[in-house]
Symmetry: C2
Subunit: 153 residues, 2 copies
DNA sequence: TTCCATGCAAAGGGTTTGCACTCTC
DNA sequence: GAGAGTGCAAACCCTTTGCATGGAA
C-alpha cells in the first residue's frame, strides 16, 4: 500500500504521482512536489514556500498550505508534530519514528523496523488507532559526559 | 525523586510545594497552582488563565505563561506537544505516555509502567536523551468496526 | 529597601480565511 | 464553459516581549 519514497522526479513523473494519488494536477502542485520530493527531508510550510520561490515558481503562501494539507490527506506526506512553533512535513511515509533536538531544531527519522512497543493498554471501545508516534527528545551533551541523562553511543 | 501528584491543596500546602521546588511564592503562582493541582488534568495556558480568573484571581496572561514555564522548569508540570495549535500542561510528572484524539481534542495519560520500547537505535555521540514521548493518535470509530485501522478493545 | 514578579498592550510568527480571479480539463 | 484551484491580504490564535508598576522578603 505504502510506496517507496519517490525520489527526485521530473515534471512528467510528478504529474503521474499526483494522478496516482487522485490529486488534480496544477503548476503549483508540481512545483511544491518538486521541492518536497527532491530528497528525503523534513520541511515546514514556510520553508517549502521559500524554496519553491527560489526556483522561480509562482506560488502563494495559501496555496502552499493548501497543497501540503492535500498531500498529507492523500498519503504523499506525513505530518510531524514535535515543535510547538511549526508543523514539519516529512517525505518519509513508511512507518518510522523521530529524534528531535529542540535546542537545534534538528529532526531525524528512525525506521520503525526493529522497534517494538510492548504493553500498550487496550483503547476505549469505539476508538481506532490512527498511528503511534514515538519521539526521542534529545539535547547536545555538555563538555564531558554529565549526569542526569543517558549518553548516546 | 519524582513526587506523587500533589492533589487538591490549600494555600499553605501550595506555598510549601513551591518552596520545596525553589520557586518564589507569590499570590499569582498560588492561584495558578490552585487551578492546576486541583486534580490530575491537561490544560492549555489559556484555559489556566480563564479558570484562574473564574476564581477571581487577579492574574495577567503574561504571568500565567511565565508561571507555567517556571513550573515546567522546576519539575512541577510536564509539557505535552501533540496539538500543533497549543501546548498542553500535564499535572502528571511521573513517566507516562499519551492518547490523543485530534478530532475531539481529548488527551489522556497512559502510565509508562508495563510499557517497553525495544530496539531503539543508538544516538549520535554527544547527544543526551531528554525524554521519549509516545503518542497514540486515535479517532472515533465509524458506525461499525471499519477496515483500515485497529479497533480498541 | 531591593529586586524579582506582575500587568498591560502590542508585537510576533505560523496558519487560516474570504473572495475575486485564473486555469485545468 | 464550468468548477476546481490560486493569489492576496487581512484575520486569527497562541505565545512572547518591553517596560513601567507593584509586591515579597
Amino acid at each position: 500500500m505504502v510506496e517507496e519514497f519517490p525520489g527526485p522526479l521530473d515534471s512528467a513523473a510528478l504529474t503521474a504521482l499526483l494522478r496516482r494519488h487522485d490529486i488534480g494536477v496544477t503548476r503549483q502542485r508540481i512545483a511544491v512536489a518538486q521541492v518536497l520530493f527532491e530528497r528525503r527531508q523534513h520541511l515546514c510550510a514556510e520553508a517549502v514556500l521559500a524554496r519553491a520561490r527560489a526556483r522561480n515558481a509562482r506560488v502563494s503562501r495559501a496555496t502552499v498550505y493548501n497543497t501540503l494539507k492535500l498531500f498529507v490527506d492523500h498519503g504523499l506526506l506525513s505530518e510531524v508534530i514535535v515543535d510547538p512553533s511549526r508543523i514539519f512535513f516529512d517525505t518519509e511515509i513508511r512507518p518510522h519514528y523521530h529524534v528531535f533536538d529542540a535546542s537545534t531544531g534538528k529532526l531525524a527519522d528512525i525506521p520503525a523496523e526493529g522497534i517494538e512497543v510492548k504493553g500498550l493498554p487496550p483503547l476505549p471501545a469505539g476508538t481506532l488507532i490512527d498511528r503511534v508516534d514515538i519521539v526521542i527528545r534529545t539535547r547536545p551533551a555538555p563538555r564531558e559526559a554529565g549526569p542526569g541523562a543517558v549518553a548516546g553511543a
